[in-house]
Symmetry: C2
Subunit: 246 residues, 2 copies
């Protein structure tokens, strides 16, 4: 079976579909500063939740729950916990790095019309889960796949998403009434945005730059240089991501 046969197979998506997928992926951003107060219609929110629910999961366990926060009072509780953690985090950096850290806006909790906590229920389908015996963390990872599905679907819908990780898990659990075996994986801020940045905010603000893919790909063994054919393929496709950027 050659490439032409594959291209004609009903299971090969059209090049238009592929382009739409890549346009979504390469224009996704972590949003903190550009949220608008425009309400997010519940049917749009429903679509991105369906996208999250169609993530892969170990043993088809579907360990996720989605807690949607619209109430200002609940957001305010989470925002206070963020502020406490952010002040502690700033102390980890020194001198110019700390000054730069303090200038960054790192969360849009109160600005974003929707906040969403995605949690993992570690006992969703009993103690023994197909595929989790040797990697017990697989349910956590499945839940992260749901986060990423949602993040991309939001971009396809024109919604910005920011992931807030500067917060104590216990504070978050308390604010949202989460107990027991339930693990908060991601606290997300969601809303329409003024604009999506052309580059990741931490890059454009000089915090850290994108690495070259060449440094990150190896052949056969970890850390080993990649084979010449693959290196040529990567070099040949170097402009591929930018071709899809707005």
């Amino acid at each position: 079976m050659g490439q032409d046969d594959i291209a004609q197979s009903q299971h090969y998506l059209s090049s238009d579909d592929r382009d739409g997928f890549y346009r979504t992926l390469f224009n996704r951003r972590d949003v903190r500063s550009e949220f608008l107060s425009t309400p997010v219609p519940d049917e749009v929110l429903a679509r991105v939740l369906y996208a999250a629910h169609h993530a892969p999961s170990v043993g088809f366990m579907q360990p996720w729950d989605f807690t949607v926060i619209k109430s200002h009072a609940v957001k305010q509780k989470v925002h206070v916990a963020f502020q406490k953690a952010n002040a502690e985090a700033a102390e980890q950096f020194v001198d110019e790095r700390q000054a730069k850290y303090k200038q960054l806006k790192l969360a849009g909790i109160v600005d974003a019309p929707i906040n969403l906590c995605i949690t993992c229920d570690r006992e969703r389908s009993g103690k023994v889960v197909l595929g989790r015996t040797h990697m017990p963390e697989m349910d956590l990872y499945s839940t992260v796949c749901a986060v990423q599905n949602l993040w991309l679907a939001a971009r396809a819908e024109g919604l910005g998403v920011g992931w807030v990780s500067i917060i104590e898990t216990d504070d978050l659990k308390q604010a949202l009434g989460i107990s027991g075996q339930i693990v908060p994986i991601a606290y997300l801020c969601i809303g329409y945005v003024d604009h999506f940045r052309a580059q990741p905010e931490l890059a454009s603000k000089g915090w850290r730059q994108r690495m070259s893919l060449h440094e990150l790909v190896h052949s056969e063994q970890w850390g080993q240089e990649m084979d010449a054919e693959l290196a040529a393929g990567i070099a040949q496709q170097a402009d591929f991501p930018d071709a899809y950027k707005e």
Copy 2:
């Protein structure tokens, strides 16, 4: 700003792009049995690696590495480790459940032309990482986002992907020469496929069914019933995923 203004904004992708994205997402499958031996061109592999590298990462840390395995000898080592773990895992189930487990084909390591190990370098950008002070696991989660980006991009390219989690991490590290602070996150089998299943294999084989989204969404507090508007939105969009399935 109303919905019409948003729809006209340059940052709102076209409905064709959105459809291409959703068609990719809802037709993605965990593939174990349908791999073809057709070689995967290196430029196609390069594109899905670029997609993975454009995942979000905490503090723009980009903690991932990609070890591409084409060699039969390396695959064979990993396959032996899988077989050992799979025999142990089968013992966790009893009676009919065990019989059913043993009938499932759970990995395509040797069949798939490409194997890929995605790892996380926990010290990629020094000990202090923006956004990781309170959630040290964020670098692992960032790497999972790269896995999911790659999985979806592969589907857009007509490639099937399967995630092998039935393996001892130490065996995997040994087979691939991974040491120190490097954590293997995902071992993936990648290749063109005979077909993509209409439903997840574990569902069609009666292992476990997809849950209703209604059970999984809550409002304001974890476990609380969702508000009426959101419930109506979810009910209204119930056919949304199926509309994109092939």
